[in-house]
């Protein structure tokens, strides 16, 4: 059973189409990446997924049933726009949010303490939110989203603004939850994170899902046309007709082949003139696929 199923959902605002006939499915135990440049329609898609706005057309199915508010108790949500009650103490805040998700007060407090310890912010439990740094507030919100042990986690840009240590800390938690069978969706425009964490992705560009599927399958759709060669001796093979582009330094060459070219020919040419110590036919990175698909707008 798919935990989330979006079937051709569309949403238009006054001046622009935010999401256009987007479909995707997320299974239990899956880490799903929703990618796209800023303004691509990621947040609009997420908002429709949790019923904050309704799609103009198309259907949202959560846990095998058409969307109802009842399902929201099984969903954990970290919005892109962070916000907490400024004057409220961290623990009170977490307990309240846990209660609103259906937990008992004692249960919520217990879990809040445990998570805060795990994420190394237990010392802030009795502080007011406004006394905390941005990164700490983000961790609090992260905890608020997972406190009620939801089956589906939806995280809008969960790592933005965090330092590398904290990013890894949260990533570990997400991986752990995924391994426990939760479905995890997160949106980002950082390709390296997706490459590292996600099983499946949906690449959104200007409201359209331009690429959907498992990372493995998507990558296999693109030709393996990148080579990395380490060699000793003559570099003349780099002008082989199969090579579209090459750069080299310290005896290592990064090569992009022409479409349809055979890496074996390049290897043969290199071995004819030089001594090859390393030869790798590389998969395209998601970033390259992304740039190729949306036309260089990844950082727009």
């Amino acid at each position: 059973m798919n935990i989330v199923e979006l079937d051709r959902i569309s949403k238009a605002y006054d001046t622009k189409i935010a999401v256009h006939e987007l479909s995707l499915a997320i299974e239990a135990g899956q880490m799903f990446g929703l990618l796209g440049p800023n303004g691509a329609g990621k947040t609009s898609t997420i908002r429709m997924m949790i019923g904050m706005t309704l799609p103009d057309s198309g259907t949202v199915t959560l846990f095998g049933q058409p969307f109802t508010r009842k399902s929201l108790h099984r969903v954990g949500y970290l919005p892109e726009e962070r916000g907490l009650y400024k004057k409220m103490k961290v623990l009170d805040q977490l307990v309240l949010l846990g209660q609103l998700h259906g937990l008992k007060a004692t249960q919520a407090e217990d879990r809040a303490r445990r998570w805060c310890e795990r994420l190394e912010i237990a010392g802030s439990l009795d502080k007011k939110t406004e006394e905390l740094s941005k990164g700490m507030q983000q961790k609090i919100q992260f905890i608020a989203a997972i406190l009620h042990d939801p089956e589906l986690l939806i995280m809008d840009e969960p790592f933005s603004g965090l330092d590398p240590v904290n990013t890894v800390m949260l990533q570990d938690v997400l991986v752990e939850l995924k391994n426990k069978g939760k479905a995890v969706l997160f949106s980002t425009h950082r390709m390296d994170q997706v490459e590292k964490l996600c099983d499946s992705i949906c690449l959104v560009h200007q409201g359209d899902a331009v690429l959907t599927g498992t990372v493995r399958e998507i990558k296999s759709r693109y030709p393996k046309n990148r080579l990395r060669v380490r060699y000793e001796g003559d570099a003349a093979f780099l002008s082989h007709p199969s090579i579209a582009e090459a750069s080299q330094s310290n005896g290592t060459a990064e090569i992009r082949l022409r479409d349809g070219a055979d890496p074996q020919q390049v290897l043969a040419a290199a071995m004819a003139k030089a001594r090859v110590t390393y030869f790798d036919v590389m998969e395209p990175t998601l970033e390259e696929i992304f740039i190729e698909t949306v036309g260089g707008k990844a950082n727009a």
């Binding site: 969903v75 949500y77 009650y85 004057k87 209660q99």
Partner: protein, 419 residues
């Protein structure tokens, strides 16, 4: 319902611990006391003794005027003791340059004023010269004194004995109210209504607008997105309304408790001495409480709606002026309703949720309207509260997701249709 309760509790607990709550709890009664007591103290210390001169060619006319003005105030049931100054009257006959002389005295403030009486063609002309031509209470007092003097002069001249003439001017009409077929005394209907209006007005100004602020705060802190992922906007609005409303009621209840504790000895004393026929039936007390609570909730809901329309507290403050308008409207109409409590207009107005808290209470206190009218009015107020909350939560839901600018009217209509 659990969510509404959780949200309401949060709002209540957060607010009751703030300094603002404490400050307004203590500060407001202090300001009120200053506003009420200040003028009384000032009046006592400065303008409460008046030295005036009565100028008349006929001392038979001037003497009774002077006597009436100088008479001890307790004997005069028409004027409340505190309001009437103590007079010192000198009588003069007109003389050349007397007017100029007296005018100079008034200017130099060695004299408060002089009353110049003049007969012309058999008609008495009375002019009072002072530094202020707008002391209406004094004008009343002088007018009565001159009328009495004139009448008694005529009556005495016609041969009526002086004692009989005096008794002619002691008539006083006391307003008493009949309820349930018996005389319940002269309860100050207008007074208690004004009290309700004041309490409502102040509670709304001080605490009612807090709901709007709290909605705006929710928007600016951006927490609504987490909240909306678990609760409906309606639950959120209702929770805020109840939580902030409970704060307002707590505050007013504490004020009233203080007020009653401070005023009780005086009131009971006055009642024991038979000076005031103070009366408050259980029906009135209940009507007061219900009208106050419903009125407060209605206006708080309005405030929530305004809050959901705007993006900053500054914008909200600009809109808050609209909150007082229906109240002011009700106050303007209250005199009309008191004199004609059963007219169609009065009945209609007392059904209108924004005016009902005040005008229905007025009608209940001046006469007892049919039960169905009271019930309908209360039901409409409840429906009004619910309706405004519903409207507010719709605007809120769409408004927070399309933040940025204040909506235009067509946009607003579209938001309302949005589901």
């Amino acid at each position: 319902m659990r969510n509404v309760w959780l949200i309401a509790r949060r709002e209540y607990l957060e607010r009751i611990h703030t300094k603002a709550f404490l400050v307004s709890l203590v500060g407001f009664p202090l300001i009120m006391a200053a506003v009420i007591l200040g003028p009384m103290v000032l009046a006592k210390s400065s303008g409460h003794e008046k030295h005036i001169v009565v100028v008349a060619s006929d001392l038979a006319l001037a003497r009774p005027i002077a006597q009436e003005l100088e008479a001890p105030v307790d004997n005069d049931p028409n004027v409340e003791a505190a309001e009437r100054p103590k007079f010192y009257v000198t009588m003069e006959e007109p003389a050349p340059e007397l007017k100029e002389h007296l005018t100079r005295d008034v200017q130099q403030k060695s004299l408060d004023g002089f009353l110049w009486l003049d007969h012309a063609d058999g008609i008495l002309r009375a002019d009072y010269y002072s530094n202020s031509s707008e002391d209406f209470e004094l004008a009343d007092v002088l007018e009565t004194a001159v009328q009495h003097a004139q009448a008694s002069e005529q009556l005495l001249a016609g041969g009526m004995p002086a004692s009989q003439v005096q008794s002619l001017f002691n008539a006083h009409v006391e307003m008493r109210k009949v309820e349930g077929g018996k005389d319940v005394g002269g309860i100050s209907t207008f007074g208690s209504s004004m009290f309700l209006i004041m309490m409502l007005y102040i509670a709304i100004l001080v605490q009612g607008v807090a709901v709007g602020n709290s909605v705006v705060e929710e928007k600016t802190s951006r927490i609504f997105e987490i909240m909306l992922a678990t609760v409906t906007p309606q639950e959120m609005m209702s929770g805020k309304l109840l939580g902030v409303g409970a704060i307002g009621l707590t505050q007013v209840a504490l004020w009233m408790l203080c007020g009653v504790l401070l005023a009780a000895p005086g009131l009971l004393g006055a009642r024991a001495a038979g000076q005031y026929a103070f009366h408050l039936s259980p029906l009135h007390a209940m009507a007061f409480a219900v009208c106050f609570i419903l009125g407060f909730l209605f206006y708080s809901a309005l405030s929530a709606m305004l809050g959901s329309l705007v993006n900053s507290t500054q914008e909200l403050q600009q809109l808050n002026m609209f909150m007082g308008m229906p109240l002011a409207f009700s106050i303007v109409l209250s005199q009309q309703v008191i004199s004609n409590p059963s007219s169609t207009l009065s009945i209609l107005l007392s059904m209108l949720p924004p005016c009902a808290p005040i005008l229905m209470y007025l009608r209940i206190s001046v006469l007892t309207p049919p039960l169905w009218q009271i019930a309908l009015s209360l039901a409409l107020m409840l429906a009004g509260v619910w309706g405004v909350v519903w409207l507010a939560s719709r605007i809120y839901r769409v408004g927070v997701l399309m933040y940025g600018k204040r909506p235009t009217l067509p946009e607003l209509m579209r938001w309302l249709r949005y589901s």
